[in-house]
Symmetry: C2
Subunit: 299 residues, 2 copies
């Protein structure tokens, strides 16, 4: 399997997901910006803005290559003289606070010495956590993981708990999901198996989101719910700009800013020292923004 | 002059500025949260939220001390075994897009070996740049600087241009101002002189902002102007969370998050690839978000 094969699969995945999301939204259509990277490669940034399901979302494909710069050596695990990287990155911010924000990324790196690895992750950020829906999301991820390794789900779920965490708020970004990095072939999995795992995850993504979206998209929205949604999006901005490794690396290494920051919501807000009222549904959500919740067995 | 003397002056400055800003706002009143730092010291966070001039603002005083941690050694210029730091930090976000956002900070560090330095800065972020107002702001800063050293204004203005810059947007945060760091006594200035410079700057702050505020606070606001204001505040968030050294250091070193992030606006927004219309006043502002504008001599 060549790196071109992986890039083609990634590109096809972007097409598939955009098609499914347009059907799910019913009205919004992706606009595409093709861009080229001066030092090698480029990408297809696709953005959807709709008054139906998705207020603002992006499904990005990129395939970049070139010399490994000192900046990359200092800031990433990349070594050697030249690199190749391809992947798909998605963030969707819905109009309705009863529909969660969702993020997915699958990526592939290859160095000039032939070393390669896959990475990726999916996580869900409900504005209001509904445990039964959180459980369904994690069950869906576990089903995909279990097809490839009985160790994947627990390992990757724990990884996500630690990765999608906002230390300065001492809270998780949402209900987590899975996160993995530096996965290469070993005694039990071939390179083809790992690519297949990433693609399976990607193809499962629209179904996972459809389930979450249908349950909330028609719900009435109060002013309080809308205000809370924007506060939660403020936290999403904090995570992405302060902690997210991909965002930070992209911004400092001269990536295409508008493609990287498509992950930010249309509107976010900050109120000094907002503390949810005791017993409110906002407080119930706040209390569930912690690591190590066993969502699959939640009842 | 002891560190307690400096801290007392900083505390008095906070009181003075809060009093002046309440008069300027006419209706809003600061609420105060006193906080203590586990490892030594604490602060007084003061927040104003008003429907008159200031939508959301903070005027913070802090006086912290204790052991120098490995985290501080790795992330700052602080050396030695123990440190002392005191200062005042201000960010004001107005309700009206025709009034600029303003920021000021003055700070003092002292190490256990007796080494000390002052630092600080003021910068203005108009949503719409009016050159005559930008000039007036810089003239005010130059007048204070010139009382202490004929080199200060140009040196500190250039420093601000480089500091208040958003590399991933290739634009300045606003029209700059002055920024300085690591200032200690030398042949021409005593420690008392430098403290006096910082205090003069601080006492000038309310007058500088009053001038800017009175010119814009009563202006009518269109929907387009409000939308642009929120986009510019998105950039303000990007600067503070991605680049501002004080914010980054505070968040990673376990500072009080709500005091640090008082700098963020009530509302900010992001629109994919927003490009101001050619010839619009938004585009005119965008074109002035560059370094090295000689505002003092602008005509």
């Amino acid at each position: 399997m060549t790196k071109d094969d992986v890039a083609r699969e990634m590109r096809d995945l972007q097409d598939y997901i955009c098609g499914e999301l347009e059907k799910l939204d019913t009205k919004g259509r992706f606009i595409e910006d093709k861009w080229q990277r001066e030092q090698g490669g480029g990408g297809r940034t696709r953005i959807i803005e709709s008054d139906q399901l998705i207020e603002k979302g992006g499904v990005n494909f990129s395939e970049v290559y070139g010399d490994v710069t000192p900046m990359m050596k200092n800031n990433t695990e990349i070594t050697g003289d030249s690199f190749f990287a391809t992947g798909v990155s998605i963030v969707l911010h819905p109009n309705n606070p009863h529909v969660p924000i969702i993020h997915m990324n699958v990526r592939y790196f290859e160095m000039d010495n032939g070393t390669y690895w896959f990475g990726g992750g999916i996580d869900l950020t409900p504005h209001y956590i509904v445990p039964a829906q959180a459980k369904e999301f994690h069950l869906g991820l576990k089903t995909v993981c279990d097809k490839y390794s009985e160790n994947f789900y627990l390992k990757f779920k724990t990884w996500a708990d630690n990765y999608f965490f906002i230390p300065h708020r001492d809270e998780t970004r949402g209900i987590g999901g899975i996160f993995f990095d530096h996965i290469s072939e070993d005694a039990s999995l071939s390179k083809q198996d790992i690519l297949s795992f990433c693609m399976n995850l990607g193809r499962e993504f629209p179904k996972l989101y459809q389930y979450q979206a249908e349950l909330g998209r028609e719900k009435e929205i109060s002013e309080e719910e809308s205000a809370w949604m924007h506060l939660r999006r403020g936290r999403y901005v904090e995570f992405n700009l302060v902690h997210d490794r991909g965002t930070k690396f992209g911004l400092v290494s001269g990536g295409r800013t508008e493609s990287i920051l498509m992950s930010l919501p249309k509107n976010a807000s900050w109120v000094y020292n907002n503390v949810p009222v005791v017993g409110s549904k906002e407080q119930q959500t706040q209390e569930l923004l912690v690591k190590n919740v066993d969502w699959v067995n939640f009842h």
